[in-house]
Symmetry: C2
Subunit: 352 residues, 2 copies
């Protein structure tokens, strides 16, 4: 979105007769800036005021047919999700969101109203969490659409929480509920695009509109409770081994403690399997020194998403165990992997 503000009337369709300047001009004129944005959309690059904090940067891309289907979601929800998954990475470092850029590759026959709605989703404050859209790129795609976002945040007190800080003996916590997004995906795969019950709607909403746990991540960083943290994008059984490997420890999970989404049973899913292997929860997973845990549980603010202790870190080298009543067995890695699975499974599960 490098082009000048030819923000004239709204274009109708994004076809061959529609040029990049008009689209980006229209979008740029409707993108609010912020006090730290000196130059936003419309120049070769954005210019942002400096800060004394560390800069925290992440990038995450959503690919049509892999991460989303246009017939399963609305462009507005898609824009919000594309932003939220990036803000979730900032949250996982304990960083405050500030800015983001978006690169879009879109089929040339896409209606302009689709782009307009996507843009409304991108700048929706509920997902951007205070971050401003400061620049972008718009390209034609010969196949499906791609939404690539880079988010920039800053540390608070030059403190960030890495994956590698966990130690044997730390207690493991997660925010929110696990498996809800995967329960929503199961509904979509079965052709249920709109929920009939409150639980179905909740699952679909969790899948379409995940909430980045920014306030929770910042709280944990400011108060120094978490010494290792990451967000759960690929499922606990895939993500937790990454935290363990980075920290040089094993983890033991008590399956009886994992905060589940039990309603998923109604459409034929195993809530524990969804919680362990389902992806896209975008909850935070973090390790807390055992001595600090009672205080954390005592003062955790009710305005934030609830936290649940699910297990602990133990001596080891990157493995994850399911532990109960003194015995344990390995947790096989079964989470979402971009090169192993797809939003288009060969067979759809049945839905009652």
């Amino acid at each position: 979105m490098k082009s000048p503000g030819r923000a004239a009337r709204e274009p109708q369709v994004m076809t061959r007769s529609m040029d990049e300047d008009r689209i980006t001009g229209w979008l740029g004129a409707r993108t609010p800036g912020g006090s730290r944005v000196l130059v936003g959309i419309g120049d070769d690059a954005a210019v942002l005021r400096p800060s004394r904090e560390h800069t925290v940067v992440t990038t995450d891309m959503l690919v049509e047919g892999v991460d989303f289907r246009r017939d399963w979601t609305t462009p507005r929800a898609l824009g919000r999700k594309a932003v939220a998954v990036n803000m979730s990475d900032l949250a996982a470092m304990g960083a405050r969101p500030l800015f983001f850029t978006v690169a879009l590759a879109l089929p040339p026959d896409i209606p302009f109203r689709w782009v307009r709605e996507l843009h409304r989703g991108l700048i929706d404050p509920a997902s951007a969490r205070g971050a401003h859209l400061v620049g972008g790129d718009l390209s034609r795609s010969e196949a499906g659409g791609v939404i690539s976002i880079t988010a920039i945040g800053e540390s608070i007190g030059r403190r960030v929480i890495r994956r590698s800080g966990g130690r044997a003996g730390d207690l493991l916590y997660v925010t929110g509920t696990l498996g809800r997004s995967a329960a929503g995906l199961a509904l979509l795969r079965a052709g249920r695009l709109r929920g009939r019950t409150a639980a179905e709607r909740e699952a679909l909403r969790a899948h379409h509109l995940p909430e980045a746990r920014c306030a929770e991540g910042v709280y944990l960083a400011i108060h120094g409770f978490a010494r290792a943290m990451m967000d759960l994008s690929d499922g606990l059984s895939t993500d937790l081994p990454r935290l363990c490997a980075a920290s040089g420890v094993d983890a033991e999970i008590d399956p009886g403690l994992v905060p589940l989404f039990p309603a998923a049973r109604r459409w034929g899913c195993d809530p524990l399997a969804l919680a362990l292997d389902g992806g896209e929860d975008y909850e935070l997973l973090f390790a807390v020194p055992k001595a600090r845990a009672p205080r954390l549980e005592k003062i955790w603010p009710p305005r934030l998403a609830p936290i649940t202790r699910i297990g602990r870190l133990v001596a080891g080298s990157g493995k994850v165990w399911l532990a109960k009543d003194g015995s344990r067995r390995p947790l096989p890695r079964g989470g979402y992997d971009h090169f192993l699975s797809s939003v288009r499974p060969p067979t759809a599960p049945s839905v009652p």
Copy 2:
């Protein structure tokens, strides 16, 4: 590239048996950091040391079938080009490159050696111009590949050069030669993937391996010569109206002054048409106050790309004119537009 450093032996193919962690671990372990990179590839986000300068951010995406063809280039050259086009945007602000992230969407059957070579191109210092790869995302694509890069730089003395600073009376300059990249594209379209003569090789090289004019942009910013600047990515006849619109002026170009690539005539191209309408030159276009121009031309360092005065800004509202011997005619906008053209034209020009 969020995953931990499982940088074991080199994977052979990027198929379903190949997981994201192994690829990103392999790449992450082979990506050099820098003194300002506190956390690089391998965590949820990168962490970068603060500076007192303004942060300058840009994003640019290359899409297969639109911006590149795998059978026309090497993965290494493609990686270098993807980085260079982003650094060119930083150069256009007069900013110094520091960091970049890359999001890749790739077909699952792509050979791993292709990814390895792409990565070698991405981190090639000749294109990165001192910037460090600090993070990324790797996704499967169901169609062609997409390379989305976000580059972060910093101002020098909190000074940046915008498109909007041009005034009537300013003289217009460009760096380097215009139309060389388009001359190379014409060869590719005609099936000439390797040059037989020095001129053909020069044109192909300009197309595959454009050089971002970072040193030139920084020099112009530090010495305060340019008061409006941009890079030429879509061709002079498309880009100059953008600078004019942003500055609220018209421009007059003297076609006899434009630095051409005359050898393109040998393969049937009009060098002036390529210079005006061809894209991807990634030269800088800038406006200099008339009184400063003699000094600029006098002290311009020979180690930098040559600069050429091509015309001037005049009162107006965003139009561009071809002016010669006291008369002028409008320059129609004929440059590259993502929604108007493609690297796959309906008919290929003939090559002798």
